[in-house]
Symmetry: C2
Subunit: 158 residues, 2 copies
């Protein structure tokens, strides 16, 4: 299953550039959020999910499923955000184990202040510098890499 697995110098050069791009893109978007709305990337993910939710509130477990974080990460993040007044917790009537996470006025203000500039940043740093062909190529590549990561599971036997 695993061959000799050589990687040429030219391939390493692509890998390093790709790696640098991923790091710097994350950083640039993080900086933009901090600058324009005083929030972090994780803050934004939570706030955006709540904002797009019909009731402006979600169950912790649904946030977890939507964003793809484990439950303890949600809980810690929400605690920090609650302390800053961006969200608020409330009890769940239906299921006494549950917790609602709701957007506060402050949280709503923050996400509204962040969205436009964030979208602009993604457009400027990403979409604007890609040709349609490259965009299609990147989509195909991303799908294939994801496929390689997540168990092809056609043959799990060892």
């Amino acid at each position: 299953m695993s061959e000799v697995s050589e990687v040429s110098e030219a391939e390493w050069a692509v890998w390093r550039t790709f790696y640098a791009m991923r790091r710097q893109l994350d950083r640039a978007l993080e900086d933009q959020l901090q600058r324009d709305a005083g929030i972090s990337g994780p803050d934004y993910e939570i706030l955006l999910s709540l904002f797009e939710s019909p009731q402006r509130r979600m169950r912790s477990r649904d946030l977890s499923a939507r964003i793809g974080w484990e439950k303890s990460r949600i809980s810690h993040q929400v605690t920090r955000m609650e302390n800053r007044g961006l969200v608020e917790r409330s009890e769940c009537e239906d299921d006494l184990r549950g917790t609602w996470i709701g957007l506060t006025t402050e949280g709503r203000r923050a996400v509204l202040g962040a969205m436009r500039e964030h979208t602009t940043a993604i457009r400027n740093l990403f979409f604007d510098v890609l040709t349609p062909d490259e965009l299609a190529s990147l989509r195909a590549v991303s799908d294939r890499v994801l496929g390689a990561i997540n168990p092809p599971l056609c043959d799990e036997a060892s």
Copy 2:
């Protein structure tokens, strides 16, 4: 400079896939290092740099320049790794402010145990699923995104 900045639904779909790929690729490689050598990604970056250095040791500032981390991050990471016996600090004769970071026997063992499998993982999850054209496209795209992030600086005037 900033237009209306709309992003179509198709574009968002590409963005989300690209985003998921970046996260999951990081995670998969991190897991592989942990599994095969009991080290983290940051550990590996330090260890590999030291290993590829002629003397198997580097000045903190050179590590910083090579990996692209700020000095305090290097210092914290080295402290943790020193506690686990992967690296060791020693004084610098030439410059009394300086510190050498050297690979220990344990550190050498760890990096040797990690390298082969890490390379294989990168090949399996990345290079093997890209065509030569896609690789070239990705290289071009990465360069252009990096160019967009780092100040074109041709016209900084406001």
